[in-house]
Amino acid sequence: MKDIVTLVAERRETIGTRAARRVRDTGRVPCIVYGHKQDPVAITVDGRELDAAVRQRARMLDLDLDGKKDRVLVADLQHDMFNRGIVHADFLRVAMDEVVRVGVPIVMRGKAKGEQHGGVTEQLMAEVEVECLPGDIPESVTVVVADLDLGDAIHVSDLQVPAGVKVVSPGTQLVVTVAMTRIAATETETAAPDAEAATAEPEVIARGKAEEEEEEETK
């Protein structure tokens, strides 16, 4: 198991969009801690420290709040859409002997056999939900796709997870499939458009028209 990073947290008295924005301007990230049937606490942590911990793919952290250390799981992160850092974080209080339910990313390895026959490997599921002890959370679940031919698929039930980890997502869900590329479809799309279709106008939903006619009649 990796070393657990300790972040120094400060209590946050103000909540809401504007207050959170002001917190971010100071280089800190607004966060929330919840779980273990205790009241949720609004806190802030240093943006750089949190970013560094996330880059190391740390799922467990120690939060030092008012001199008291809490072991937490990073339950959710909100990122800025222009990659300007983390906007908000959710921390879930955990005990090391308590089973937790988390999402683990699925990583594809290899090149599918079906790609040589004009197929394309599609990963339909980015994350699988698992149940395990906090210390056993895998960094990712690897799926080897090298043996997949055209039309073959890997389902959640086929995933190989380490001992002590139980998959919670339904076993019938598709994870990876090798589908035929849409050659036939694009050929029909790129064909010359018929004149009628090119000048076609969308159908106006009749409700408005009918009402107008009724109004005219009443006048």
Partner: protein, 139 residues
């Protein structure tokens, strides 16, 4: 053929303002790589189609392409040499109203270099500034 709505409630729409950033459709959700709008603007149906054609051509029909925007907004225009007044012009074309952060296209099933080249070609067809983005795995 350029995209347009099948059914609409009103034939003509007002211009409107594009304010704020995209709060939906602002991350790569289907493919591995994407093209994200950095500016706000209208993207014409013909420009969306031009991007699609250039992408499928460059990818030699390998991989998969997703178009994440749709031209819902009708834009009307008065004919040439017509005096002002006499009502609003007729709808000429359709546009997608795009806010900064919106992911316009996504690709998968190709290498990162290929995806970069493909999305760069699409970006040349776009009337707004865009950037290359990759999917975020995990948290």
């Amino acid at each position: 053929m350029a995209m347009m709505p099948k059914r609409i409630k009103f034939r003509k729409s007002q211009r409107g303002r594009i304010r704020g950033n995209a709060t939906r459709g602002n991350f790569v959700a289907f493919g591995e790589y994407g093209l994200q709008a950095v500016e706000a603007g209208w993207i014409r149906a013909t420009q969306i189609e031009a991007g699609r054609v250039s992408a499928t051509h460059h990818m030699h029909r390998e991989g998969k392409l997703w178009i994440r925007i749709f031209p819902h907004k009708p834009i009307s225009k008065k004919p040439l040499e017509v005096r002002m007044g006499k009502g609003k012009g007729e709808p000429e074309f359709y546009v997608a109203s795009v806010k900064p952060g919106q992911v316009l296209y996504e690709v998968a099933g190709v290498s990162e270099d290929m995806a970069k080249e493909t999305l760069a070609r699409i970006s040349h067809k776009m009337p707004i500034k865009t950037r290359f983005v990759t999917r975020r795995h995990g948290l």
